[in-house]
């Protein structure tokens, strides 16, 4: 964990063109020593391009990269210090597991028995000590990725790059390997960059997440920060599920949505400014419909359940309410659903707690 906060990798004003297409646009970022960083974003956002620029595989068009106080952006990838793991594993098919892991070591003129010891240690570390003489084709996807991981770690690189390493695996294996990579990182402390489009993966593994879109950084922060205080509507929408409502600042602390007035923190956004008001489905509180139609509490409004979707531990309600709200998503525990006797067509009262509402000014 970055207690010391020593910068290990420093990216400055990095830009990468593919023809006319700007894949990464003037991006700057500091990564601390020993940190586990996730580049997260939709496909085409530039996360893999950024990773490949760090490795030197697809050199940047302009900008600087410094690794361990050494400028690396102008040296060929073969002289940089990194290990890499790909989605496709990229294990050499004609070499055994042992030979694959030993591949980089053999080149360092390490004595044979030392190589043997190191390889076995590494395979032990990733939990597959018994498969040394098998070929990649004889292993499952999860096993292959473990081998790829130990091959990348064999030469003790200062930087570990993981390019969507879990995307080709099925859900159960993915979840298990997620935890193993995380604990491996904690044991070895190697600075790690993981590229993924899977937000759950990023939230569960990263020390810090770099959310990217259109070649730019949208937000950098811990998983908690990213989730609870998204810096932009894009992050709000991309991470988790979010309700968006179109509104207008009425006065400081009050937003109007259609004819409804909502109390929330408005910061220094000017009166009359168009905004988007957001709230997460799990933050919407649902109450039984009180007989007095116009509700008593602040930010409380009558709604009707249009449909409900059973999702295991909770239910997602699709609610229609007053004009301007659109269709709202609200998550209710299964128990609550039973208590409130929610079915399709049920009328409820929802409450938007002020502390959970965030506004984003509309950029005109």
């Amino acid at each position: 964990m970055p207690e010391s906060k020593q910068t290990y990798l420093h990216i400055e004003n990095l830009t990468k063109y593919f023809g006319d297409f700007v894949a990464v646009s003037n991006l700057s970022l500091k990564i601390f020593s020993g940190e586990f960083i996730c580049f997260l974003g939709p496909s085409g956002c530039g996360k893999t391009t950024l990773l490949r620029a760090i490795a030197g595989l697809d050199p940047q068009s302009s900008g600087n990269i410094t690794q361990d106080d050494k400028v690396i952006s102008n040296i060929p990838p073969s002289e940089r210090d990194f290990g890499i793991v790909f989605q496709s594993y990229a294990l050499f098919p004609n070499l055994t597991v042992f030979q694959n892991v030993a591949y980089g070591l053999e080149n360092q003129r390490m004595p044979k028995d030392e190589i043997r010891k190191r390889v076995l240690d590494l395979l032990e570390l990733v939990g597959m000590p018994e498969h040394t003489e098998k070929y990649p084709a004889q292993l499952s996807g999860g096993e292959q990725q473990r081998v790829a991981l130990s091959r990348a770690l064999a030469t003790s690189p200062g930087l570990l790059l993981l390019d969507e390493p879990l995307s080709a695996l099925d859900a159960r294996v993915r979840a298990a390997l997620r935890q193993e990579i995380r604990s491996l990182h904690e044991r070895l402390g190697v600075t790690t960059i993981l590229v993924t489009h899977d937000q759950e993966e990023a939230l569960s593994m990263a020390d810090r997440i770099v959310v990217m879109n259109h070649g730019r950084i949208e937000q950098v922060g811990t998983p908690e920060e990213i989730y609870s205080t998204p810096a932009s509507p894009f992050v709000a929408d991309f991470i988790g599920v979010m309700n968006f409502m179109q509104g207008e600042i009425f006065s400081s602390g009050t937003v109007h949505i259609g004819e409804n007035s909502i109390t929330c923190e408005t910061g220094n956004t000017k009166d009359g400014h168009k905004v988007r008001l957001t709230i997460r489905p799990e933050d919407i509180l649902c109450h039984a419909n009180s007989s007095s139609d116009q509700s008593d509490g602040t930010n409380s409004f009558p709604v009707k359940v249009e449909s409900l979707e059973f999702l295991g531990s909770f239910c997602r309600l699709i609610l229609s309410g007053k004009e301007g709200f659109g269709m709202l998503k609200a998550d209710l525990s299964t128990q609550q659903v039973h208590e409130l006797k929610v079915t399709q067509g049920t009328r409820l009262t929802v409450e938007f707690p002020s502390r959970n509402l965030r506004i984003f000014p509309e950029i005109s």
Binding site: T49, S61, S73, N74, I84, Y103
Partner: protein, 569 residues
Amino acid sequence: MSTASVLPVSVSSTARIRISRDDITLRSGLVLLITLLVIAVVFPLYSLLSKSFEDMDGEFVGLQNFREYFETPALFTSITNSLGVAISVALIVLVLAFIYAYALTRTKMPLRGLFRGIALIPILAPSLLAAISLIYWFGNQGVLKSWLLGASIYGPIGVIMASCFWVFPHALMILITALSTADARLYEAAEALRTPKWRVFWTVTLPGAKYGILSTGFIVFTLVITDFGVPKVIGGRFNVLATDVYKQVVGQQNFEMGAVVSLVLLLPAVVAFIADRWVQRKQVALLSARAVPFQPKADPVRDWLLFAFCAIIAFIFIAMLAMAAYASFVTFWPYNLSLSLKNYDFDVMDGGGWEAYYNSIRLAIYCAVFGSGLIFLGSYLVEKVRGIMWLRNILHLSAMLPLAVPGLVLGIAYIFFFNHPNNPLGFLYGTMGILVICTITHFYTVSHLTCLTALKQLDPEFEAVAISLKTPVWRTFGKVTLPVCLPALLDVGSYLFLNAMTTVSAVVFLYSPETMLASVAVLNMDDAGDIAPAAAMAMMIVYTSAFFRILHAIFSNYLKRRTQIWRSQ
């Protein structure tokens, strides 16, 4: 992002990355191979082009030669003759080979493997063999002469029949590929919609094979219009472009006119080449990775009808080969039908003797060894070098070029280029070296594409991983790339060997008395009236090719079994 990362590095990149030693090695390799291909293809073609604008003394005369050519009626009729024959053969072979390929790939007809093998026989023989065999069947002293009802085999009929025979396997292989890549889901959908079988054929099968069919048409057309062995042997007084070139250059030593006819011959070949490339590009997206392979079901009526059809074709093929084999052992056709090895006593005949045969083997081995190595290296550089897209594209284009150049044209271009007094490479003229260079060049493209296909199946990240492990590029090439691509490399070697054994078109202009080849000897002995020894020499080529093919199959199988453990899914 995945789409973005495969795009070439932008030329507008401002930051310069110092290139590593590996990069220098690879880039030098690229430049070297481009240089070799430019010398082997581009320069000779340029010589040919400039020759066509010169008179006998080397003075520039503009379009004079072309005017002369088109004003000579005899030469001009060759164009219509050539087109007529090539189009007829393309249509006939297309229909026959399509039905044959359909029977092999889409039915449960018995003996499919055997039929496939028989149909590939012509690949083992020079195109001349078919013509020689037809002479024994239908020629002046042929056993079935009466079947032609008075028509002569020496002329368009013979040329078309013989051409159909030797191009058949080429057409068949493309069509088998086109028909094998069917998506079973389309057929299931059609069946679920209760579509009648004939309609499924017209709406699913045929459109699916559309590009393969077009491609076949173009390739057959090019093969026939540029082949001169068949019309030379059986064409009689029926002139075609290819024989004109030969007559102008070898017969009349009129090199300028030969250059003009070559260029005329180059035109349809280039058009067919471009059309074929266009078609190939269209085909790529046709079959997605998710397609489910089609498994044919038995249908007795259809299967047995097709069996009868294939049996007839196979019978004809065997009859063609058998007649040549039989005739080669007959002491003196048709008067003394006792069998002997007299016709194989090449040393007492004109045509180069047994030395020609050994030369052919030498040529075939050199081509297989050096050719496959060089071509694999070239395709590796095209596919696996990072960055400098433009240089890789130049190499790829240079590698594609030979496909558009008929062997005959290449051969003549080589005379002009290598025989030029100021060419420092002139020492190659008349040696085995020039035959090897010419043959490798002639068959470069198909080999290049085969290697490229094999290389594309490797994970593109192998090189990235190797770099991250600080491994030099040659080590990964030797330890991973080469072993994994070995089957493809063997295929290429075998392809080059067989073609070097059987080719006539380019080498016929380039051999010297010391480097006489078996295939050329067949031509020369036939020309001299020694048709039985010609058949014998053609059969020697067949025996050798067949032997080599079997050897290749055994070794490939052994390799497959040995590496099965890591190839299995």
